[in-house]
């Protein structure tokens, strides 16, 4: 495989740098780089054209600037848009080569040793438990006609599905970062659940042994055909150190008649150090469409990492009686900033949406909930319920709630509730008097505050998320 790629590169007339150990497109964003990516991935012509169309569009788009967290200007010509998996030679040889602090966090999270190695790209033995596990999964899924693979593989093996749905929820003209992603995305996940199939297990990037490392422009496409059900888990709960600054992923969900998609995320990218140096800009576009009647899409997110989190997982409720849900926990500490929430667009009749948002800010951080509930004139008898709770720790952080409400239908109604509270010294003292350390006390109180959202997570994820909540706030008091 590697040799073949190199052969392609040799033939490639634009003379990109090739290196046995490392295949990288040159720096910068231009048509040639996009052709390079498409070529190396052996994509069909239509996809290349699709990418180029996005790139054309990108030229006239400007980065949005209405968000609360500001960031230094990104020089898009200074970034690499394609970098093949680095060879094992460049990767850490063993866990001993890693930052001990990282290992300590793994230990607290209870992540198995093999998994720790995989997360850091350490070469693992051929006899790796997860491999056989993954294979067993694959057989079981194939039996039911479920497709679960990387999007690159799907483009090769199931082009008709990809072509039919890619970009139908997030059009290539959408907004700057989504369009950028469409032009240069490198890999991601693809899921297709056939009609009337209930996916027998939680699908997770955790179990998908990546054929290649997905880059900073990830693309995920999930289609639940009529009457099907799938629960998808994204992200690992371990912190990933990453040299890339910008993460601009696109995630599209499509639920047909009577189908249900549950999408859970635990995001813990590197948040930068205590002084706000470094960290990831997590500018992600996530959108689902309840295309069919009686369909349901439910987003659950636990956002603890990244220097800046800027995302609004949204639902377009097109089918009559469809349901959209958004459960969110966002935690910012030190200098982290988050501007996150959701958009619920009610188009069909009898559509319902529910938004539960829990924001926790500590240190010098700043948190904004921003949400849109839009009930169109045709969406008779539709309902929204929104609950936004903010918890402040200390008096140097900020919390803001910005709800946008548009109701164009007299039969429909929207309810919004919001609270802001603080962890009191008295609560901490009470817990400590009962033998809990200050950190345990904070973890307990914050987990209590987030309970309604944590309950939405699949069992094994919920346990890790709970621990993560505690770890994210370490050192935030006293």
């Amino acid at each position: 495989m590697r040799e073949k790629e190199i052969d392609i590169l040799k033939d490639y007339k634009y003379g990109f740098t090739t290196d046995i150990e490392n295949i990288k497109a040159p720096k910068g964003l231009n048509e040639e780089v996009i052709r390079f990516i498409s070529n190396i991935k052996k994509e069909p012509q239509w996809l290349l054209e699709w990418r180029l169309k996005a790139f054309e569009r990108l030229k006239v788009l400007k980065e949005p600037d209405w968000q609360k967290p500001k960031y230094p200007k990104i020089d898009y010509q200074e970034l690499y848009y394609y970098s093949a998996p680095k060879s094992f030679k460049e990767k850490p040889k063993s866990l001993d080569d890693l930052d001990p602090k990282l290992l300590e966090t793994y230990k607290k999270l209870g992540i198995p040793l093999q998994e720790q190695k995989r997360l850091n790209g350490i070469a693992v033995d051929a006899v790796f438990d997860s491999v056989s596990v993954a294979t067993t999964f694959k057989e079981k899924l194939t039996e039911k006609g479920i497709i679960f693979c990387s999007i690159s593989e799907a483009i090769q093996k199931h082009p008709e599905l990809v072509k039919k749905y890619l970009g139908t929820v997030i059009p290539i003209t959408d907004h700057y970062f989504a369009t950028l992603n469409s032009a240069v995305f490198t890999d991601g996940s693809f899921v297709y659940i056939p009609p009337n199939v209930r996916c027998p297990m939680e699908l997770s990037t955790y179990f998908r042994i990546n054929a290649s490392d997905t880059g900073q422009f990830e693309r995920t496409l999930i289609i639940a055909d009529k009457g099907s059900y799938v629960s998808y888990l994204e992200g690992c709960t371990a912190p990933m150190r990453d040299e890339n600054q910008l993460h601009a992923a696109n995630v599209e969900l499509i639920a047909l008649d009577d189908a249900e998609i549950k999408y859970s995320t635990v995001q813990n990218w590197y948040p930068g150090d205590k002084d706000g140096k470094g960290g990831i800009y997590n500018f992600v576009t996530k959108r689902g469409i309840c295309k069919g009647k009686n369909s349901k899409i439910s987003w659950t997110q636990v956002e603890t990492g990244s220097a800046i989190t800027w995302k609004y997982p949204s639902c377009i409720l097109q089918g009559d009686n469809s349901i959209g849900e958004f459960y969110s926990i966002a935690i910012t500490n030190n200098h982290q900033k988050a501007d996150t929430g959701t958009k619920m667009i009610h188009l069909g009749k009898n559509t319902k949406s529910k938004i539960i948002s829990k924001g926790i800010s500590a240190g010098l951080s700043d948190m904004t909930y921003r949400g849109l509930v839009d009930i169109s004139s045709r969406a008779n008898n539709s309902r929204n319920y929104t609950q936004c709770d903010s918890l402040l720790m200390g008096n140097k952080c900020g919390a803001h709630t910005i709800p946008y409400i548009k109701n164009k239908n007299l039969e429909s109604n929207i309810a919004h509730e919001a609270t802001t509270s603080k962890i009191s010294e008295e609560q901490l003292h009470y817990c400590q008097q009962r033998g809990l350390s200050q950190e345990e006390a904070v973890g307990l109180i914050v987990n209590g505050f987030c309970k309604e959202v944590l309950q939405q997570l699949p069992m094994e994820f919920a346990v890790e998320a709970q621990k993560l909540v505690g770890i994210s706030l370490e050192g935030s008091v006293g």
Binding site: S424, E425, C431, Q432, Q433, R434, G435, L444, G448
Partner: protein
């Protein structure tokens, strides 16, 4: 067990405790009675490790300097405070809080932590003794509890943690006569030769049910008189004014 020598405490430059001294031996029950603002709650706050006070003097608990121990370390060593105003912690199940607390203390003492079943058996037995509605243990900690339920919950926690020194800060305030009995039963059940109690109260009423070994009158941050149980009755008759 507890030796307080010449304790002075100030908050925002205002003197609250003034050369306060007290000695509690294992197995003894001491009652501190005093009017509003006499420093009773400050005493329990300082013993439990609450920050924000400027203190001088000495507090020894089993010959260890209490000022060198964090709040949770004092709890690990066996100091328990039944709060005057127990805190609400929304979203945290009462049972889970109790189990986390018990296991944190057991862990610190090097004892085996209780698993869910062992814990539930223990809590069931204790709740039954205190006529505490078990169903409430599945609710959020103190959220929506009545004043009496909150106080009973404190006594339940005390009986589960089995501390060496229990400080009851006006636990009797706002309790009806039935609840008062339950609290007293809880204390009396824990009375052993190694367990001591410091009962802080306004009223003599609670002492009808918990017979103290010593009664102290606290006025303006200082013990003005000490005596046996009969002192409480005398106080009730004469009022605090006559002890200043």
């Amino acid at each position: 067990m507890l030796k307080i020598n010449n304790l002075n405490a100030k908050i925002e430059k205002k003197t609250i405790l003034n050369n306060f001294s007290l000695n509690i031996n294992p197995g003894e029950v001491h009652a501190i009675m005093g009017p509003n603002g006499s420093g009773k709650s400050t005493l329990s706050n300082i013993l439990s490790g609450k920050k924000g006070y400027e203190v001088t003097g000495e507090i020894l608990f089993e010959n260890k300097n209490l000022f060198e121990l964090e709040t949770e370390e004092r709890a690990h060593k066996g100091i328990f405070l039944a709060f005057q105003y127990p805190l609400e912690i929304p979203g945290v199940n009462t049972n889970i809080f109790l189990k986390t607390s018990l296991n944190a203390i057991r862990r610190a003492k090097g004892e085996k932590e209780l698993d869910a079943i062992e814990f539930l058996n223990l809590v069931k037995e204790k709740a039954k003794n205190l006529k505490f509605d078990e169903e409430k243990l599945n609710r959020q900690l103190n959220v929506g509890f009545s004043g009496g339920e909150k106080k009973k919950n404190e006594i339940l926690q005390m009986s589960i943690l089995n501390p060496k020194l229990s400080i009851l800060d006006e636990t009797d305030s706002g309790l009806d006569i039935d609840a008062l009995r339950v609290v007293a039963d809880g204390v009396n059940a824990l009375r052993k030769k190694n367990n001591s109690f410091l009962i802080i109260t306004h009223y003599q009423r609670l002492l009808d049910y918990i017979k103290p070994d010593f009664v102290h009158v606290l006025i303006n941050g200082k013990i003005t008189k000490s005596g046996g149980p009969e002192l409480a009755l005398e106080l009730e008759k004469k009022g605090y004014e006559n002890f200043n």
